[in-house]
Each structure stands twice: as structure tokens, then as C-alpha cells.
Amino acid sequence: MSTTSVPVFSSSHAGTGRVTQLGVLRSEWTKLWSLRSTRWSLLVAVIAMAGLGILISVAQMSHWSQMSARERARFNPVDVSLGGWNLAQLAIGVLGVLVISGEYSTGSIRSTFAAVPRRLPVLWGKAAVFAVVTFALMLPSAFVSFFASQAILTDHHVQTSLTAPHVARAVIGAALFLTAVGLFSLALGALVRNTAGGIAAFAGLMFVLPGLDALLPASWGNAINPYLPLSAGSAIMAIRPDSSSLSPWAGFAVFCGYTVVLGALAAYLLIRRDT
């Protein structure tokens, strides 16, 4: 801290490179991993997705003998093994908001936009990096939980296999859904530009909205419910056909549609708003 001499500031090392989308991707990659909070959130998501299903399986097997015939009939080895998504979606949803709202709360968004004045490459860069990281972590986590849980479920011979109908789609679907949740919350963060507000919007749309059904006439509620973000998106993990929800891929497509709409709105405002 005792530099009073003036060093040479002109440098041949600075280069003359332009802003490229690839450069912005590297930048966002560096930003994501250079924060301790990011690494913790991702670790929580991995532990939840990979570990919770195993815990539930162990618990179910230990009191299998006390379960009623009806409970045993309703037992779903895939749901049990993928149960961790409920918690993982919280970690990923919060992190998705933080990836962008953190830049606004600290003011570093100004350095970011000064380096990339077109701004949109930043949004695409954040989305791409976060989606790839989420999918790359959640897919193995889902498989670990699935295989370990099935091994535990052999205790009472209620396991299933990856080759059984719909199972592979459900396991991969868990990773796809969590990735889409990450993008959904990132878009909300970009729209709201505030951490608390972004998380509130995420929780409101995902978890509070379904509860508001009760305010509507039953027939309306039943008609709307399958299209709410959480029930639409999570349909991709369903094994047994359920007349009250959308088909797996249709539901997932609806959820992705919401994400695209939010992302487009965020992109539109990103260019127009002052920072």
C-alpha cells in the first residue's frame, strides 16, 4: 500500500480485444465461482437432490411393516428417490435470483454494464452459465439418489429400474425442471433487481399461488391449477398418469414458456432502464 512512484501504465498486455459473447460467458463463469455464497448454495442443492431421496427411502423401509395396505399400494419408488427436488428447488431458486440481484445490491452491475454496454450478452451469459452448472450438478445428483434409493428399496422388493416405463424421463426430468427453475428465478431477479423482492416473487409464484386456488370456485381452481408454475413444471417427474395435471412434456413446456416470457420482459427492460 505504499506505492508513490508512478508505474508504467501503457501496456502491451492489455490487448485490443473486443467484447465477445464467449468472453462474457467466461466472465460470468468467473463471477459465479468466485463467490462463497454461490458455492454454498450449489452444495446445498447437490446434498438435497442427491441425499434427501436416500434418507426418505431409508425411513420408508424402516417402517414398511407398519404401513397400511393402501399406503403400500400408493408407494412410488421414483417419487421417493427424487424427493430431494423439493428442497433443491429452493436453493437453486434463491441462487438464481442472487446471480443477478447481487449485482444490483452491491452496485457492481455498473462495472458489468460499463464493460458490456450492450447489456444483453450479460443476461444471456448469466443464464447460460447458471443453466449449464445447475444441470451438470443436478443430473448426477438425481441419478445418485435414484440408484442408491432403489438399492435401499430392495429390502422390501419395491424398487424399480431405469428401464421401466417413464422412469428415465422422470429422473432426467428432475434435473431439467431444476434447471428451468434456476432460469425462471434468474429472470425474476433481473426484473425485480432486488434480492428480497426477487425471492419473494419466486416464492409467491411457485408456492403461494397454488394456495390461492381456494379463493376461486372449485371448477375454476381445478381448471387453473395444472397451469400454475409449480404443478406444470413438476409434471415432468410424474410416473403415474394423473387427470388433474398436464402431461409431463406439456407441463414442462408451459413452465419453460413462463420462463421465456419473464426472460424476454427482463431483456426488454434491461436495455431501457437506467442503472
Binding site: A14, G15, L35, T275
Partner: protein, 314 residues
Amino acid sequence: MIDVRRITKRYGKKVAVDDVTFSVSPGLVTGFVGPNGAGKSTLMRHILGLDAPNSGSVSVNGRAYRDHRAPLHEVGAMLEARAIHPGRSAVGHLLAMAHTHGIPRVRVDEVVDAVGLHEVAHKRVGTFSLGMFQRLGIAAALLGDPATLVLDEPSNGLDPEGILWIRTLLKGLAAEGRTVFVSSHHMSEMAITADHLIVIGRGHVIADTSVEAFVREASSNVVRVRTPDASRLMEALAADGVTVSIDGGLDVLQVAGLSAEQVGQTALANQVLLYELTPEQASLEDAFMRMTRDAVEFQGGATGAEHAEAGAHS
């Protein structure tokens, strides 16, 4: 080269910047001075394309900031030194910026060393002092070896050694032919560092002048006159280049542009009784305060009773 053309920016009904035009030339340190809230930071955000004006335009090195393909090589900026994620290290922050333009790691290390942050380069910046944030902000501004620098209050929070360091640095950058645009609310610091001054108050450019001319003007003698017949003396003194203002009580005048001898002679010729006639040396800080206060009064729509002006006020 920075070219600000007729920028107006409103926030709701409040006009933050009102039809401001100026340009900043290469090879000089240009000081951007004004009291807090005068619109300095707002204008700097406009230069960097972060905020859009209601009307007018800004160009940097010949084009709008947003149209530059490699902005970090054109303009290096430090707006708010503390506006960095506290959980990131200095190197992490600089590296994230560098990647956008494909600037290599070796350049990051170079600027970290240049600002004297080598030993704390990998510490979380949340632990940094304001002075260290300023140095990191300057490192970020220098990263792309830009032709133009825009720095908001770079000497804020620095110790005397740091202030000297900044001063030497800014002069060195200008000597290399760069455009250096630096804001400050410390007039005396700018008078030492800058070659040219743009003074802003309440969103208006009040002065756009060389430091030399500003200092000459500011240090011109002011004469304090106490008289029971203030209004008659004011009339008698009215002439081109003479400023008379009422200071403190109704019987005290501040006369700029005339020597004590000239004021005394005019008083005698007009048979005005004087109780006191004192030559005073106005400091730069005084001149700056007077100038910006005038702008405030002008904005506030004050009447001439409080502030009588005789002749042109440049």
C-alpha cells in the same frame, strides 16, 4: 475526448442535469467540481451509457459509449469505488471484467501491482478500507489501457500519501496524451491536480475554464466595506467587471474587481461615509463556494435584494 451535448436528465419532476454542454480534451486533467448533489455522478453515468438522458447526447472518443465494440480499451471508469461484490477478491473482480474483452491474466496482475494491492489481491474486498477500494477502482479503470479515464472522486478516503499518489498518477496519464476527467468536491485539490475545470452547480455548468484563469479570478482582491449608506455606494461603484454583494449585515459590502484605494476614492467623491475598508484575499475554496452558492440562489429564484450584481460576472 468526451463530448457532452445539451444533456437534460429529469427524475420525476426534479431536474438533475439541465441542458449541460461541455467537452473534455485529451492531454489534460479536467476537474469536474461541484457540491454534493450538483449532478456530477449523474453526468458521469451518462458518459458511460449507464443512464439515458431525457434529451441530448454524449460521445466518447467519437461515438456513443454503447456503440463501442471494446469499451474497456476506450474508457476506463471508476464511479463508486465500493460498488464491488464484497465476497469477491480484487483479482476475481478484475478477472471477471478482463474476460469480457479477452484481456489476459498477466494484465490483471500488472494493474494490481501498479496500484499497490499485490498483498491483498486474493482477499475478499469486503475487508477493504475505502482507500483500498479507491485503488482497486483505479486498477479496474486502467485495465484496458484506455485513452479516456472517467473517475468519480478518486481521492476520497485516501490518506495524504494516497492523495499525492493519485495526483501524480492523473498528471502522468494526461502527459501520456489521455483524456482524464476527474470529479471532486474539493476545489483546492483540483486546483493542484487539474489543468482545466468544469464547475457544476444544481445541474448547470457554472464555469468551464482553465485552472489558471480560475485561480487568477478567485484570488483577485475582494474589499470589505462597512458603511451606513450601502445602497448609494453600490450605485456609485457599479461598473463593468465590478461585483458588489451584501455580506452579513446590511451595512457590509463585498467589492470584487476594485482595489481598496479605488473604493476609497469613489466613496470620497460621492461623499459616502466609510466605517471600515479592508482588502481581503479570497481563497479558492471561497471562490468556489461563492460561485456554486450563486447558482443555488439563481435556481431558488432569489430576488436582487439579497444579491446585487453590478456588471458582468464571468
